[in-house]
């Protein structure tokens, strides 16, 4: 296998194939729950009635297995005469909302969004209609936007043939002699450092990125050797702490990202707690194990856009073939920041909105500091257009992109593509309990370097979940683009006023 970039490691291809990757826990959680009382006589009638696989009685078994309630679609079926509840001769079955599912989620990531993401990651297919998979319930931003066809405001367009729709994206628009970098989906993975998440999570993200010809990002924590077989699909980050940044790591990738700020803690810098700084993490970061590591804010070598250009030039000098991405947060003058980055020579400007982020951050910062990404995208897009440079830079948005519909809305508002973080973690089984930092670390074994907890998840399973999620997202994106009569996701960029509408105040207040 030849490499696309300058990696000196043999690159490992990963197959882009959807395979079932069911929940890794014994009991999957669903929106509804089916209870079977002791009146059951195991007649097996329910297994014939149910079309969703809730009831199973394997050949040779005397008893019917415990109901697989997570597959149940709820009242829509249970209230019809053909349902298992109605048909059971013993009246032994009841259906109800699962109280555990109500404990999941919050307005931004509703229970339905988490469950539908799990479904997509398990099957690779769009979720069933009883789960709302398009938007959350936060009452603002993406959740207040609908495609016009969703609310019957659509103007008639000729539907495009879905098979021919292109969701790919070129990332180099500078025509500066550096190589073109193409990704097959308008989505790549956000930076999560070695130390903040487990090695399985990092490598699975890289493998899924390789499968979809996209990217993942190292975050600020060094470049683990296990990522090197996927160098062509890795973005390495140069952040304020410069942890693990070496000439070698910059030279082996196709995109290098400067992280000025991150959405979860804009203007505050990073902080790895001492407990997470295990010997392996410390070696990678060239630090002392057990000490808390601060990534200061800001870059102390950058106090002006001229200094910033010097930084970009430095990376371009070290790696003559890489593209440079600049990741910034969303202050009031984010439009000026974007223009400054373009003139400093960046290929990609990556805006990280304030409601996103995966790592632990002060609650006050997540909620209040800097603007949500929904406001920043149109602001920057319009300003770059007015400046006449919109087609010469790639605009990537992140920070609260949860669903395929969010991806498309972000692009319609003016982004070229998006970066996702939390959505990938949810696909791996994250319940968003927000306890990434407490006790021994992530109870689901995703964001933990605890040797026992990280073994809760295998690399093969995690890779498959992420490949499946992207497949389901791509299906949904293609479906929407077909309805809009578009042949490529690139046609959607900046088309918000044609394809989107905004729900009125009265409704939002409810």
């Amino acid at each position: 296998m030849t490499t696309l970039g300058q990696s000196d490691w043999p690159q490992t291809p990963v197959e882009r194939e959807v395979r079932l990757a069911p929940d890794r826990y014994r009991n999957a959680v669903g929106k509804y729950k089916i209870d079977r009382s002791s009146a059951c006589v195991s007649c097996g009638h329910c297994t014939e009635v149910c079309r969703y696989g809730v009831h199973v009685k394997p050949a040779g078994y005397a008893f019917t297995l415990r109901p697989q309630g997570h597959l149940c679609i709820g009242p829509e079926c249970a209230e019809t005469p053909d349902s298992c509840v109605e048909q059971c001769p013993q009246k032994a079955l009841t259906m109800r909302r699962n109280p555990a599912a109500d404990c999941l989620g919050d307005p931004r990531w509703s229970s339905d969004l988490i469950l539908s993401t799990w479904h997509m990651a398990a099957t690779g297919q769009a979720p069933p209609p009883h789960l709302e998979s398009r938007h959350g319930a936060s009452g603002g931003g993406f959740d207040k936007m609908r495609f016009k066809f969703e609310v019957g405001m659509e103007e008639p367009v000729e539907r495009t043939d879905p098979t021919g729709i292109d969701t790919g994206l070129d990332l180099n628009h500078r025509e500066d002699g550096r190589p073109q970098v193409h990704i097959d989906i308008p989505v790549y993975g956000g930076g999560m450092s070695f130390g903040s998440v487990s090695i399985h999570t990092i490598v699975a993200k890289a493998r899924a990125a390789a499968a979809w010809n996209s990217f993942t990002c190292t975050g600020e924590g060094g470049y683990p050797e296990r990522l090197m077989p996927y160098d062509d699909h890795v973005i390495t980050q140069v952040a304020t702490g410069l942890f693990g940044v070496r000439e070698d790591t910059i030279q082996r990738v196709r995109i290098v990202e400067f992280k000025y700020a991150q959405g979860a803690k804009p203007g505050l810098g990073g902080h790895l707690l001492g407990d997470k700084n295990t010997p392996a993490v410390a070696r990678m970061r060239e630090a002392v194990a057990g000490n808390a590591l601060f990534s200061p804010f800001p870059f102390h070598s950058v106090y002006s856009v001229e200094d910033h250009k010097k930084h970009v030039d430095w990376i371009k000098e070290v790696n003559s073939r890489c593209l440079v991405s600049v990741k910034v947060s969303t202050p009031t003058d984010v439009d000026m920041v974007a223009v400054g980055s373009y003139y400093a020579g960046a290929h990609i400007i990556h805006l990280d909105g304030s409601y996103g982020g995966t790592g632990a951050a002060p609650d006050i910062a997540k909620k209040n500091i800097a603007m949500p990404i929904e406001f920043a995208i149109p602001k920057v897009h319009k300003f770059l257009c007015a400046e006449g440079i919109r087609d010469r830079i790639t605009l990537i948005a992140s920070g609260g992109i949860r669903t395929a519909y969010d991806v498309l809305k972000a692009i319609a508002l003016g982004a070229d593509g998006v970066v996702v973080g939390t959505a990938e973690l949810v696909a791996l089984g994250c319940v968003r309990c927000a306890c990434c930092e407490s006790g021994r670390g992530c109870p689901r074994g995703i964001a933990s370097t605890d040797p026992e907890l990280m073994m809760l998840m295998s690399l093969e399973w995690a890779t498959q979940r992420l490949i499946n999620l992207q497949n389901a997202w791509r299906q949904q994106m293609v479906e929407v683009l077909a309805r809009l009569g578009m042949k490529s996701v690139r046609e959607l960029r900046g088309a918000a006023s044609r394809v989107l509408c905004y729900l009125g105040e009265a409704e939002a207040a409810q």
């Binding site: 931004r108 804009p266 810098g269 602001k379 309990c433 990434c436 729900l503 409810q510």
Partner: protein, 454 residues
Amino acid sequence: MPDRYHIHTAPVPGRFRRVGKFGNVDWREDCSRCTNCVKLRCNYDVYKHEAAYNRDPFAPVETLNECKACLSCVQGCTKGLLSISVNPEFLALGDEYWRPDILATTWNQSDAGRIPVSGAGYRGRFYGPGFDSIWTDMSEIVRPTRDGIHGREYISTSVDIGPKPMRLQFAPDGRMLTEPSRLLEIQIPAILDMPAWPVEGSALAQARAAAAKELKTLAVMTAADAATVRPELLPFVVPVVEGAIPAGVRMAEFVDGPDVAERAAGAQAIAAVRMTLGPATADRVVELYRAGLKVFHLVADLHGRERLEDGRAGRHIKDVLREVHGRLVKEGLRDEITLIVSGGVALAEHMAKAIICGADLVGVETPLLVALGCHVCRGTCDGACEAIAAESEYAAHRMINLMGAWHSQLIEVLGAMGIREVRRLRGEVGRAMFLEEIEKEAFGDLARVQGVSA
């Protein structure tokens, strides 16, 4: 440079029964007693703690309902016997302004005295009424002063209370005519205000006075409570008085009324006017300024709203403050006047946002009660609430922890904006984003649709 201001916090476990968000539900009928029980593997030892409590009712009570809803046990149990559900008692806490999550974070901050930190992004609604429709600014690449958060540079949170003459005046013979200014500098832009509803017991007032001393700020209380305070705490006490000011206090409040200027005249301490926030506040402040008063404590209701003439609640303080501040700027008086606002300041971010909207500092009242375990049931406790009747040393520690956490959070906000002192945050609306404007700018060109719920 003065000594660096530091609030000494230390963990103080609450002595009240904590209401948690999630409860475990356990059906034991079908348990197969497998050796593989998920209860033993709980990442947070919730089951062990609850079992300890079941065996010993005197075990610490705050461990109940500490489940964090990671679902590991629910999903892992061999026979699927475990479930969790949202605790209805938690959802019933407080009211629509003092939401259960605000009470819970206030309890946690009072326990530990540290900034609340969590993972996985923001979890709440996109925006809401009042302060929830303001975002504060940050800077990408700026001045070296930005080091503040990590301790190498100093971010000042001190503010001044008192009349601030704009110039000095001299007689022809060179004698200074301006009276020396009596400014009172406090180290956090928050004073500890009286409870918004009647609460009995002077222990609470004692606790506030002690906390104010430690925090280098002030505690407002009735003249009766002030009379019971230990003398060494009097400089940190602001009594609400009719006329005479007790010896030893540095500032007193006079309730607004027709003769307030006469009552406050000749006071030997800083005289502030305590007035209910309303539509006429800006006019009244200007009028009293002309009568010689310079410090105003504007009191909003428990939900941060002004009171209209007919007694109903009006606009939120964020809107009223911008009006009052703007009026004073227009009249050229703003820098001579100190504005204190209280009512509805529930979280550290509200302190920063009220200052952005034009206050010099805020008054904090209800969060101090919540720190002691108050549920903001308002009066249904009949003033006999066990939580609030706590002894004063413990109560003062909890208040100090809470304000210590607030102070750290204020520093985060200032640091992200690249502002070195909170005095410069006052009225800085350009360093904030207001929903109405930002939404119009971003989505003004989208078609509006009614009748579809978000």
